[in-house]
């Protein structure tokens, strides 16, 4: 699991950081991104490039996003 806490980074750096990690992601690895809002543009990039994601809102300004390239790895959030 690659932890990517982007809560204090100015937009749109978090998207770029996530995509840079996604490029190098091994088949069964998962990125756990923590962000202050739901990064919808990122989802389009991930989906269009064969990836999957799970987006969980924990609080008003706290989102957990799990990203993988694998079609088999189960994406889940431990607190839901």
């Amino acid at each position: 699991m690659i932890l990517l806490d982007t809560r204090e980074f100015d937009h749109p750096l978090p998207l770029e950081m996530a995509v840079e990690h996604f490029k190098d992601l091994s088949e069964d690895a998962i990125i756990h991104m923590i962000h202050r809002r739901e990064p919808l543009p990122l989802f389009e990039i991930i989906s269009k490039n064969g990836g999957r994601y799970l987006s969980i809102r924990e609080d008003e300004n706290l989102w957990h996003i799990y990203i993988t390239r694998s079609q088999n790895v189960k994406l889940e959030h431990p607190y839901v």
Binding site: R7, E8, F9, D10, H11, P12, L13, L15, E16, V19, E20, K23, R36, R37, E38, P39, L40, P41, E44, I45, K48, N49, G50
Partner: protein, 419 residues
């Protein structure tokens, strides 16, 4: 509550870029007009001055804002503009023809051109408002989208009043309410269209781009109501010749001052204090808006004409500062996003699309342009220097945009796709 961005239905890059890339072209033209006619541009009622004012407010400011509207409506609203490609083409084309016709009409005193300008500018502006406004009603909860209603309505009223005045210029016959129409045209255009749209955009981007605390909900809820009511009452007062119409200017000035204070406070309290040229643009923009408010207030009190010129120039520069700052953020993001979502995983990183040194170059030239242009009201040589520096700034902006588009095209042609 939907609080993010959606680019699922984002318009193609060309929709937004066609407006943005036209901006520096009109900016260079404006610089040339100022350079070759410094005396005339400082006389508010001179045709050359009117041509310059419309080049700035239509060719530079409105042109940029139309591009931003096409992007923001789709991104924030989730209800995309129908046939964005074709509609953007028509609106942009009509706007360009209309601006050239209007400026030509003023400069060459050709009545026919006023009619052509009215047709094309009216068609472009009213069609754009008619296209986007219906998408902003209904179950819209986003503050920025709700805030965009007033600017589009105000822009439509500005256009209608502009058409009325153009017909007066075409016939060289001015009605008894010409001055009232002119004052209303300015009020709706400057405050209702430009200032209100910048406030609406700030509600979204200051918090999102710079990780600040959000603007207060009272502020978001009531800012546009106060501006709308003040504008309508001011226009009513002007047309009915009632006294104390300046009270409404005072209310709008107080509201704009509150906006400046809260924006600067948020920028100063941001969590991650990294250097960013777009923040410098916001800070300088707020300083210019403060100067515009102060000098306009002083003009109302003293009647000294030069102060009104300073207020108008400072206000235009305020809007330009925000536009340049936002363009420097939006263009690299759009290029990167469109390439990345199309699977070009070797898309250039955003900081390479418009390099920081070039972005700082635009800022430095803009700051110098601001000082010299405002100083130009009192010293003609300063205005000439301002025109040269301003031309250079728009030239560099054009180069930056071309560089970004070249990177986009090269990646499309030679880029490696993911997988």
């Amino acid at each position: 509550m939907f609080n993010g961005l959606s680019l699922d239905q984002a318009p193609p890059l060309s929709v937004v870029i066609r407006f943005f890339i036209t901006v520096p072209v009109f900016g260079i033209l404006l610089s040339l007009i100022i350079f070759f006619n410094p005396h005339e541009v400082l006389i508010p009622t001179h045709p050359i001055s009117l041509a310059a004012v419309h080049l700035m407010f239509l060719g530079v400011i409105t042109m940029s804002m139309f591009g931003a509207l096409f992007q923001m409506q789709s991104v924030l609203g989730g209800r995309p503009i129908p046939s964005a490609l074709g509609n953007a083409f028509l609106i942009h084309l009509f706007l360009v023809i209309g601006i050239f016709a209007l400026c030509g009409a003023f400069i060459f005193s050709l009545p026919e051109l006023f009619i052509i300008a009215s047709i094309f500018l009216g068609a472009s502006i009213l069609y754009c408002a008619n296209l986007i406004l219906p998408l902003l009603f209904g179950d819209i909860t986003h503050d920025t989208l709700r805030g965009m209603r007033l600017p589009l309505i105000a822009l439509s009223l500005t256009a209608v009043l502009g058409i009325v005045m153009a017909s007066e210029y075409a016939n060289s016959s001015f009605s008894s309410v010409h001055e009232a129409v002119r004052a209303s045209h300015y009020s709706f255009g400057l405050i209702g269209w430009i200032a209100a749209l910048i406030i609406a955009v700030a509600f979204q981007v200051i918090e999102m781009f710079y990780v600040t605390t959000p603007y207060g909900s009272w502020c978001k809820r009531n800012a546009f109501r106060i501006i709308s009511a003040s504008l309508l009452l001011k226009v009513l007062w002007i047309f009915t010749h009632l006294p104390y119409s300046w009270v409404f200017d005072l209310i709008m000035g107080a509201l704009l001052s509150g906006f400046i204070f809260t924006t600067l406070k948020r920028l100063n309290q941001r969590k991650r204090r990294v250097s960013d040229v777009s923040i410098w643009f916001w800070q300088l923009g707020m300083a210019l808006l403060s100067l515009a408010i102060l000098t306009y207030g002083a003009f109302i009190g003293s009647g000294y004409d030069a102060l009104q010129s300073v207020a108008l120039i400072a206000f235009a520069l305020f809007a330009l500062a925000i536009i340049l700052g936002m363009m420097g953020k939006i263009v690299p993001f759009l290029v990167w996003f469109h390439l990345s979502s199309a699977g070009y995983m070797d898309a250039p990183i955003m900081s390479n699309i418009i390099p920081a040194t070039r972005a700082k170059g635009v800022f430095s030239l803009f700051a110098l342009t601001s000082v010299t242009m405002i100083g130009g009201v009192f010293c003609l040589e300063s205005l000439l220097v301002g025109a040269i520096i301003g031309g250079g700034m728009f030239g560099l902006l054009l180069l930056n945009l071309i560089h970004a588009l070249r990177l986009y095209r090269d990646t499309l042609i030679h880029g490696k796709r993911f997988g």
